[in-house]
């Protein structure tokens, strides 16, 4: 029998022997949560999930009463206003669901919800991790549905779509529609084109040929006037900005050939090119759509994270009663209660209680900051272990987090940009093409005014920059697809072009160069009666109940038996409990007596220190190697950290980095990068915290860690999904290879266009020859680009 959990496939801890029955066989599970979920799924007849899933499920955590209360508050009308829309008597909500990993999850969620009375429609999207639910509010409450999803192991949050995301969705749909029309119509036009090709050799009735031309004209019209319209509008937009872009020759070829073919059809003269322009439109659109989709997926992925600020707050009434209200209804001077583990909804002063607050999402530093009466706390930070009452002194736009977001937005408009190769080539190509076509027209006019028009058109068609315009998008699409497989999400189109030019890499410290979490580096026992193993086991058991970041270091030592009684968290000191009639405690060295130690955590048994744990933030394994690799390629590495202690300097020396700046505010980081950029350096910034998001927009290129704050991932050009720095050299390799392939593609297509141009200008190219040459050059370019997939 396998030794991994039946539900989440994680290893089974010793001491837990829960099992579930699936298809008459006993399978082990790792915890009560997974057991409950697996039993529920099997009992409801949804066991197909286990048969067809391709990715493991997440580990299940059970709901605590406080969480239930928050979920129930989602039924409140004022809170619902933000994320619910109405369709007749039905309500519609978009939930972002944590832990959807494959199509089996989507099926499971849809089946679970549709079984509830009152749910009219469920639509789960596995790529965006969102579920759209349409339900009848008189029959079922939103909180009941969320709880029901929780019972099969999915955590959900109401999702608020922002303007940008819904616009992108609309663009994606328009692409699919245009692509569909182009595809279906091209097939029809090709059919008639083939009939006419054969007709040319075997002789075709004049009437039929005339008829087929008209049919082709009717079928091609929607492709040109609907599907190819974006090319024309982009070209015009470019012209208005006084730029010649790639869309200009493309739309000149498409619309020029269309006008000429229509003229030929109506006036019974010349040649028609309907099939060529239809196919060209289809291929170009396909390339553009695939590239757009890869980027859409990346931005959807990052936008789909639960909100920074909570939707609800616990307001304290005059009477001392506690009321859950919508966070946006809070007013200045209101008193709110924040319990352990909750996110603080507004900036304010602590007026009662003491706690430690995790401000890592602001500062990137994972060590909690202790807060006592009179201290300022910030919206969006996480309250760790104590219960505090705060009086609100900043709301909405004035909160620190919104100030940082504003800083980030203002940097976006001033962002340095490098001129893209595409634009440069297009400028050159378009100008020479226009000159050449004009020259042809002028040259032929005195010789034969009749032929001048047709030969000019054939110059435009023959030089139709199919291969040229496919050269860059196909290479980018293949490179992006390859990188996505490697866990590197590319969000902006310019990344692959900018990357080979980067001369400086700036790194944040905590969470980027280090793992941003504590690991045990040393265990020292102080008493003979307990060995290291027992101490670690005791510590693991206790720390399992603590939310303190230090507790995470002990995660691996949790034995998963429930031998612990009377657990109590002592704010500011640590956590204590009773195991086997021993009073054990873990926390500050100075908790019980004046015991002095440098260790971050000390284990006490019956108030006597028995073991010291030394912890430190571990440097990522790959950091050393990556920085050395960058150096060998002539790229310098720099550290910009918000940490004011000496540890940044030590780490920089250890990693042999070129410079280090510590105690940087988000603004400082920006000014360092701006300074470098003004000296002509091309700067890439790698970071993870909210404090890195403004500097992301000052750098030429920005990379965020998957483990970082949501907002920094939103601002970044690249998200490293595996949070592994090794991705950086891999990314550079692919970018360099892409550059090389793009150059080859451009060379190939320019050779083709350059050699056919004089022939066409002399009137020596037959239409079918032009079509074959055009298709062949496009196919060669596409095949060359496909090589990027195998890197």
């Amino acid at each position: 029998m396998s030794q991994s959990c039946f539900h989440c496939l994680e290893p089974i801890p010793s001491g837990f022997d829960g099992q579930v029955t699936y298809e008459h066989e006993q399978h082990p599970v790792c915890c009560i949560g997974c057991q409950a979920v697996a039993e529920h799924i099997i009992a409801e007849g949804m066991s197909d999930y286990y048969k067809f899933r391709t990715v493991k499920a997440g580990k299940v955590e059970s709901l605590v009463p406080d969480q239930l209360k928050i979920i129930e508050s989602y039924d409140n009308d004022a809170i619902q206003e933000d994320f619910i829309s109405h369709q007749g008597s039905l309500n519609e909500v978009l939930l972002s669901v944590e832990g959807i990993s494959c199509a089996a999850c989507a099926w499971l969620i849809e089946k679970q919800l549709l079984a509830l009375n009152g749910v009219a429609r469920v639509d789960v999207n596995t790529s965006t991790h969102r579920a759209m639910i349409l339900w009848d509010p008189s029959l079922i409450k939103l909180s009941e549905m969320i709880a029901s999803l929780h019972s099969i192991g999915y955590k959900t949050y109401p999702f608020q779509a922002d303007e940008e995301a819904s616009q992108k969705q609309a663009v994606a749909k328009a692409y699919v529609r245009r692509l569909g029309v182009a595809g279906i119509m091209t097939m029809q036009v090709m059919m008639f084109a083939f009939a006419m090709y054969f007709g040319m050799f075997s002789g075709m009735d004049e009437n039929f040929e005339e008829y087929f031309r008209w049919i082709s004209f009717v079928l091609a019209t929607p492709v040109i006037l609907y599907s190819a319209l974006p090319f024309l509008s982009n070209a015009i937009k470019g012209l208005k900005a006084k730029q010649l872009n790639m869309d200009l020759p493309v739309s000149m070829a498409i619309f020029g050939a269309y006008v000429a073919s229509s003229y030929a059809t109506i006036m019974h003269t010349g040649e028609v090119y309907f099939e060529s322009i239809c196919m060209f439109t289809f291929l170009l659109l396909l390339g553009k759509y695939l590239e757009f989709r890869a980027r859409l997926k990346a931005s959807e992925f990052t936008a789909n994270l639960h909100k920074l600020l909570p939707l609800t707050a616990r307001k304290l009434l005059e009477s001392g009663e506690e009321l859950i209200i919508a966070a946006k209804q809070l007013a200045l001077g209101d008193r709110i209660l924040v319990k352990a583990g909750e996110t603080i909804p507004a900036d304010g002063l602590v007026i009662e209680g003491k706690t430690s607050v995790d401000e890592s999402m602001m500062t990137g530093e994972h060590l909690p900051v202790s807060k006592i009466v009179g201290n300022q706390v910030f919206a969006g930070t996480n309250n760790h272990d104590g219960v505090i009452t705060i009086e609100i002194n900043q709301l909405g736009q004035n909160t620190l987090i919104n100030q940082i977001i504003r800083l980030q937005h203002s940097a976006l408009t001033k962002r340095p940009k490098l001129v893209e190769v595409t634009d440069k080539v297009a400028q050159w190509f378009v100008a020479s093409l226009l000159l050449f076509a004009t020259a042809t027209a002028i040259g032929w006019y005195p010789i034969s005014p009749d032929k001048a028009f047709w030969i000019t058109i054939s110059v435009l068609v023959a030089t139709c920059p199919c291969a040229l315009s496919l050269a860059i998008p196909t290479a980018l699409t293949c490179a992006v697809a390859n990188l996505t497989k490697k866990g590197i999400l590319i969000k902006e189109a310019h990344v692959l072009e900018t990357l080979p030019k980067v001369t400086r890499f700036a790194f944040d410290k905590t969470g980027t160069l280090t793992e941003g979490r504590f690991t045990i580096t040393d265990v020292v026992t102080l008493s003979d009666s307990y060995d290291k193993e027992t101490c670690l086991k005791f510590a693991g058991q206790l720390e399992h109940f603590s939310e303190h970041p230090i507790a995470k270091a002990f995660e691996d030592y949790f034995p998963n038996s429930r031998a612990l009684d009377k657990v109590e968290v002592r704010s500011g000191y640590g956590i204590q409990g009773v195991i086997q009639n021993l009073n054990i405690a873990i926390g500050k060295p100075s908790w019980f007596e004046n015991y002095e130690s440098e260790a971050q955590a000390v284990l006490f048994i019956d108030s006597k220190p028995v073991c010291e744990f030394k912890l430190s933030d571990k440097v990522r394994n790959s950091a050393n190697q990556v920085i050395a690799q960058l150096k060998s390629q002539g790229v310098t590495s720099h550290m910009l950290t918000g940490d004011s202690s000496n540890s940044g300097r030590l780490l920089a020396t250890q990693l042999k980095m070129d410079s280090v700046q510590s105690a940087c505010t988000p603004k400082d980081k920006q000014s360092y990068v701006d300074d470098w950029a003004s000296k002509g350096e091309v700067v890439a910034m790698v970071g993870d915290g909210i404090n890195d998001s403004p500097v992301f927009n000052s750098a030429h290129l920005s990379l965020a860690m998957e483990t970082g704050a949501d907002i920094s991932k939103n601002a970044a050009d690249v998200v490293l999904l595996r949070s592994d720095l090794v991705a950086i050299p891999a990314l550079i390799t692919v970018a360099k290879k892409t550059k090389q392939i793009v150059r080859q593609n451009l060379a190939l297509s320019l050779i083709y266009n350059g050699s056919i141009l004089p022939l066409a200008a002399l009137g020596m190219v037959e239409p079918w020859q032009a079509v074959i040459g055009m298709s062949a050059s496009s196919i060669i370019v596409i095949c060359n680009s496909l090589r990027l997939l195998k890197l």
Partner: protein
């Protein structure tokens, strides 16, 4: 052969209907998640009955 003058417009009519259906499908978000639709055929919605039938055996 002159029947072709009637048949081709009819064929075009079918194409237009196909495009209509395609537009409806796009609006209905059937193309927003390509992975899920491909797998949906594998799942057996009548599993509950199966199970109950098995228990009776």
């Amino acid at each position: 052969m002159s029947i072709i003058y009637v048949l081709i417009p009819i064929a075009i009519l079918f194409v237009l209907i196909a495009i209509g259906i395609f537009f409806w499908a796009v609006r209905d978000e059937q193309f927003s998640d390509l992975e899920k639709q491909g797998h949906s055929i594998l799942f057996d919605d009548d599993k509950e009955q199966h199970k109950k039938a098995n228990e009776r055996d």
